[in-house]
Amino acid sequence: MSTTPAARPSATPGNILPREHYLNATYGIRSWLLTTDHKRIALLYLVSVTFFFFIGGAFATMIRIHLLTPNGYLVTPETYNKLFTMHGVAMIFFFLIPSIPAVLGNFLIPLMIGAKDLAFPKINLLSWYIYLVGGSFVLYSFSTGGLDTGWTFYTPLSSVYSNSAVTPAVIGVFINGFSSILTGLNFIVTIHTMRAPGMTWFRLPLFVWAHYATSIIFILGTPVIAITLLLAGLERMFHLGFFNPALGGDPILFQHLFWFYSHPAVYIMILPAMGVISEIIPTFARKPIFGYTFIAGSSIAIAVIGFFVWAHHMFLTGESTYAALTFSLLSYLVAIPSAVKVFNWTSTLYKGSISYDTPMLYALGFIGLFLVGGLTGLFLACLGLDIHIHDTYFVVAHFHYIMVGGAVMGYVGGLHFWWPKITGRLYPEFLARIAAVTLFIGFNLTFFPQFILGYLGMPRRYHSYPPEFQVFNVMSTAGASILALGYLLPMIYLVWSMRYGQVAGRNPWPATGLEWQTDSPPLTENFDVTPEVTWEAYDFENRPDLGLDVKGAPSLAPAHGDD
């Protein structure tokens, strides 16, 4: 077993791309728009979600510029309402929810389990088209009057009083829900029925477990928001009264139904990212993950318990004290499986052989930022505290720590980690590390001041604020500009690397998953021969094929794009 970098096949210069792979197997626009190859569909999604990320980011930019001064000079108050609404709708429904599952999940799950494709490839393609149709309705709404109800569409503002383009937006989100549902359905069936021989449940990569848990939420939660928005849309179109108190309806019912999905939706956004982290940490600590079963089980626990906590978004709406107490207690309980994961990742790092490659930087950043976001969630789950910090910037900071500091870092880190597999090339490591650090700094400068603002009482969704809050708002906007740079850099160098990056070879890191046993990029049908799995997940010690000397040897730096 050789230990010198020069002898490891993946690091030798002179790697060449495989002659035939999924990107060059067929040519022409039709071969992409009518593809049923899960890897191509993943790339179609990559382009689409990046587009919506820009849209959401544009609205965020305008918000932060507007908030540079206490009385806001950029837009009118009515337009400000539209800015934060459209930022939320674009980011949540069209970026955060689909990103990791539809891009990384679609690409990797068949590879990770040793299958040729998902169970229903045509439904996979249909999911993407449904996403586009939903997105088109929402873009139509954005460009014909916009949307000013908040991404939460609370009634009766959304169903009766708003003068913005609510109906097309609601139709768009409704339609997009079916994209999620079909993806979740595809993943569940695939993971159950398409695993290669020897790939038992407890040998599955934790990324797969994370997506299985996420898919449970897709299936059980998404239909509820679909019907809720359908009813709200019907109410608006036909002046019905389900959620309108003037007609005997109940706006709180809308909130119950809305949050029944939208709370589990936040677990849809974070669980896949946790799956990414669970793949990155063992790889760059050269150690099996600590407590595999607990991490797998905690994913399912989060998915299940996450359905029992929704009314913590409604503590101040007049729900009963009994309900508030129950949902508060359950919200504390749902933090436990998340904490288990953080403990296990940390234990994996302990006495590991750690290298600080870009994916690892994102993973480490995730752990710290998710910790802050998760703990501040407990602040909010505390009834007495929530009375003061509900609907303030404290909440905004909390969920951005989780969704940006957590989910987006997980997504970007995952893109970097699997970039060699997806494209066959390495990204430039030095530049990538700079971008990761820039993103981390920019993120904290943007959102940490918002905790302080919220604590001091600045409400969210307000276009203006008392002058004493200006310094923190300016800090936040300054941070946002650095954060933007942190996002732009990868977009540039990742695209650059597709043409000019060093050829990666099969397993540049190296990592233990089945996906790393195939070519980079893989064949359309993934494997020459259906693999037969005889090893446990993350078992670095018993994998001589990786060319690692794991016991006691100094850590070997993986191949880098610009070494």
Binding site: A115, K116, D117, L118, A119, F120, P121, I181, L185, I188, V189, T190, H192, T193, M194, I219, L220, G221, T222, P223, V224, A226, I227, T228, L231, L234, M237, F238, H239, L240, G241, F242, A246, L247, G248, G249, D250, L253, H256, L257, T530
Partner: protein
């Protein structure tokens, strides 16, 4: 384009294909339970808030037609189950016959629904279209009655949309069945459409008492 009965490329065996189809359909039906479930939730809250007006409104819809439709739909479930049986024992012509019977019964259901909707239209009980339940009564009473009728149309309407989709699936199945595609070895599409059809029946089994039988005494 794949012909029915062929092994799709992503699968290794027909068994795997059948297992995947079956799990896929059951998972899809789970989403449907939650989808209709949101409306059942809305119904539950509104009925418990306005029990008397819901009772009154319920009495104004046609119980005979509703009961008749219940019998017809459950009958169509029987014929659907029979077509699955016929396929599993290789009786190809019976498969087609039972599928056609299912389609006929389903169409009768939809026709009767059309008659009921027309009745409601004539009586000004369609929300959003000159709704007026009790012309002399208070605004609140009419508004609360409108809640019942909004739910009536939303729930039976969504159900009817599902029936129409089911009818489309049956037409496709009948075409395939007439080509002799379903055998004892391969009848997955019949089974899967059957599952969907039975689910739509189950939704009606709950809709019927909840909408038609609130207060008939």
């Amino acid at each position: 384009m794949h012909r029915t009965g062929e092994l799709f490329g992503q699968f290794e065996t027909m068994d795997q294909q059948r297992e995947s189809a079956s799990l896929g359909m059951w998972v899809f039906l789970t989403t449907e339970v939650l989808f209709f479930g949101g409306m059942f939730m809305t119904y539950t809250l509104n009925r418990s808030t306005y029990p008397e007006i819901f009772g009154e409104a319920s009495r104004s819809i046609n119980l005979t037609l509703g009961a008749f439709n219940t019998v017809v739909l459950i009958g169509s479930s029987l014929t659907m189950a029979m077509s699955v049986w016929a396929a599993s024992v290789g009786k190809k012509q019976l498969v087609t016959m039972f599928l056609i019977l299912t389609l006929i019964l389903g169409s009768i259901f939809l026709g009767v629904k059309g008659i009921e909707y027309h009745e409601k239209f004539v009586e000004h009980h369609v929300p959003g279209l000159n709704f007026s339940f009790e012309p002399g009564a208070s605004v609140a009473t009419n508004a609360h009655a409108q809640l019942f009728f909004s739910l009536y149309f939303a729930m039976t309407g969504l159900h009817a949309v599902h029936m129409i989709v089911g009818a489309g699936l049956l037409i496709w199945l009948i075409k395939e069945s007439m080509r002799g595609r379903f055998t004892a070895e391969y009848n997955t599409p019949v089974e899967m459409v059957g599952l969907y059809w039975h689910f739509v029946d189950i939704v009606w089994i709950f809709l019927f008492p909840l909408l038609y039988l609130i207060d008939r005494h």
